[in-house]
Structure formats: structure tokens, C-alpha cells
Symmetry: C2
Subunit: 189 residues, 2 copies
Amino acid sequence: MNAALRNTLNEFEKIPDDDWEFFQSILTTSTIKKGDFLLREGQICKGVYFVILGSARAYLSIDGREVNTSFYFEESFISDFESLTNDLPSKKSIQVMENTNVIFIPKIKLLALYEESTSFQTLGRKILEQVVILEQQYSSLFTIFLPKERYEHVLENHPNLIQRVPLQFLASYLGVARETLSRIRKRVT
Amino acid sequence: MNAALRNTLNEFEKIPDDDWEFFQSILTTSTIKKGDFLLREGQICKGVYFVILGSARAYLSIDGREVNTSFYFEESFISDFESLTNDLPSKKSIQVMENTNVIFIPKIKLLALYEESTSFQTLGRKILEQVVILEQQYSSLFTIFLPKERYEHVLENHPNLIQRVPLQFLASYLGVARETLSRIRKRVT
DNA sequence: CTCATTTTGTGACGATAGTCAATTTAAGTT
DNA sequence: AACTTAAATTGACTATCGTCACAAAATGAG
């Protein structure tokens, strides 16, 4: 059941068997129904989710309008770091886009695990390094590309996004109006 | 001489004295002349710089045009994570904007230190967590704000940037043409 | 201080994306 | 399958930004 998570973690850092045993004991698995929330604006994020099957989105509510900031699919980690690491009320909501199976990793337990296991500490650092890289690539979308080019670049590099995310959510993620994205898509395809 | 660095690190995690002693031994301090480079496109980034005094910018060269992706001032860490963590040729160049004093922390030594010291490992993780948060705030500039609002938001939250970065560099960082930024600044001020 | 170079500011124009409104298409429910 | 609701598309119009060309201001070197 947790095999997908172990495989993903092993790509970053090999986990010794006994570390893994303890790690498993802090995990809880659950199924979230389409439209339900992993985190709501104002709540304090208490841990990290791992997506076994399904998808989710993170968004900001800006005077009534929803601005999508991230999308998550199988084998990815979901959290709001701003809330999680500094215990601040989240500015974002995280909502599941379809029925989704997740593993929950509580922050308190994870921090304790870091203290005891060097390999997990290393793991946490390596995952964060990749998150930083992805975030930088995302922001450069806006500074180096025009809207149409942003779409093409995402189509090329993250086809999941284009295939599995409804246009209404994708638009704000790409920084364009829904109508504009619709027109871009017609021209490109 | 390294006091500024120690102070900064202590805000993340207290460093035991003996850990600090060893850490100091891997550091080298240098002065970089205005316009010189800490990293050039195509090179592999070999470590992290800490700014004691001065400033720097990171930029991408996109068909002749320079797109600035980050600015660095006193007490901040400079690196290209995409190159550093995965040993890839850097897409970015990092150039000093004025005569700048930096401390260099070599990656190889730092990784060795991580293996031996839990507090440094934790430190590395905590710094990365804050980097992720900053990067996410940067990308949301583009999705939630119009150009004029981006300028005002940066003016409010990172006044250093507005005061110390030439307009020609700021423009691409904010995703607008130089002329547009010039006009925004006239209206806002 | 003067000259040369770089940086910033301005004006005019065209291209592009945003907005509003209406329609078509798709999805979900009973 | 029929109905309802939501999502995507399309058209018309406007606002905004980018581009090009040039002028003014600031910076730096001799």
C-alpha cells in the first residue's frame, strides 16, 4: 500500500529497512472525495500529503477570484510550506480535483524522525532542493515567455497539466484569462 | 569576519561551537569587483556564496535579452540550485552589481559536513524551506497582480530591490518592458 | 570640467490580452 | 434520455502593454 511512497523516496535517498518500519507507523492513508479539501485558507498546515492516486490543486482566493498556484498528481507531495514550516494560517486552499488516495505524514512525527534518522533528514533536504528548482522554473515561465509560449512550454514539459487540469484552473496558473487560454489552445492545437 | 554569517545561521538553528569551528575551516572569503561573475552560464555551480557586503543578480540570457531572476544583498545566500544540486551546466549567470564581499561555501565540504553534523543538516533544510516560500511568493506576483501592483508590492515588501536595483534589471524581474516600468514608477511615486 | 557612454524617460503607434455578454458544448443528475 | 448545471468557446470592444525612435538625465573616464 505504501510501496508507491517508498519507491518515490528511494529515488532521492535509500531508506534503511528499520527506518522505513518506523516511518510507516506514522503514516495514515485515506480517500478524499472529489471537491473536498486537504487544507483550507486560514488553517495551519499540519503535515505533508503524498498522492497515491488522483489529483489536487492549490489556490489563492483574491477578492472572489481563485488563482491556482500548483497542481499535484500521482507520486507528488502536497503541502503549503509557508503555513507548514512557520505555523502560519494558510493563504492557500488545497482541494482534490477527483477522488484521491493520499498518505498523510504529520509534521510533528516527521520532525521527530529527522532527529533520529540521518537518512530521513537528508531525504527532506533533497526533496526541498527539487521543489526549489521546480518553483524557479515556474516563475521563469512568466518572465521569459509570452502567454502562448507558456502554454506550449507546459504542454511540452508537463503534459499531465494540460491533459488533466480543466481549462478554468489552468488559466490563472498560466497568468491569463480563461477566454485567452481557450483561444491559445485553439491556435496551437 | 564570519560573524555576519554565523548570526544569519543562528536565526535558523543554533550551531554548537565545535561544529562552527570546523565549518569556518571550509570557508573562503573574497572580494569580487563590480561586473565580475560568481557563476557563468554553462558552468557547474560548485557551492554557495554568502553576501557580507554588496549585491548581485542572477539572470538568464534569452536570445540576446537578459532576464533577471533574482537579486541578492547583505546576509543572503547565492547559488543556482538547478546546477548545484544536480551538477548540471547552469542556465543562469550570476553577476555582482557592485564591489562585493562574499564567503564561499564549497558544496563538497558542505555535503561532508551534513554527514557529520545533525545541526548543519537541519540548517540546510530550514534554509531551503524559506527559499521555497520566497520563490512561491515571487511566482504569485505574476498570477495575482497587474504590473503596477507588482511594483507596489515589491516596493512595500522588498524596498531594497527598488532602491538598489537599476530599473533596467528590475523590469525583466517584474515581467515588464523597461519603458513600462519607467512609466509605472512615474505614476506611483 | 568636459566629453562619451550608459541609463532613464517620453511620445506615437500597433499588437495583444482582458472584459463583458452571449452561445455552444460538455458533464452530471434524476 | 431529458433536464439542469457547469465549462468552454466565440465575438465585439476596450484597456494595457510592448516596440520603435528619440530626447533627457545621469554616470564615469580622462
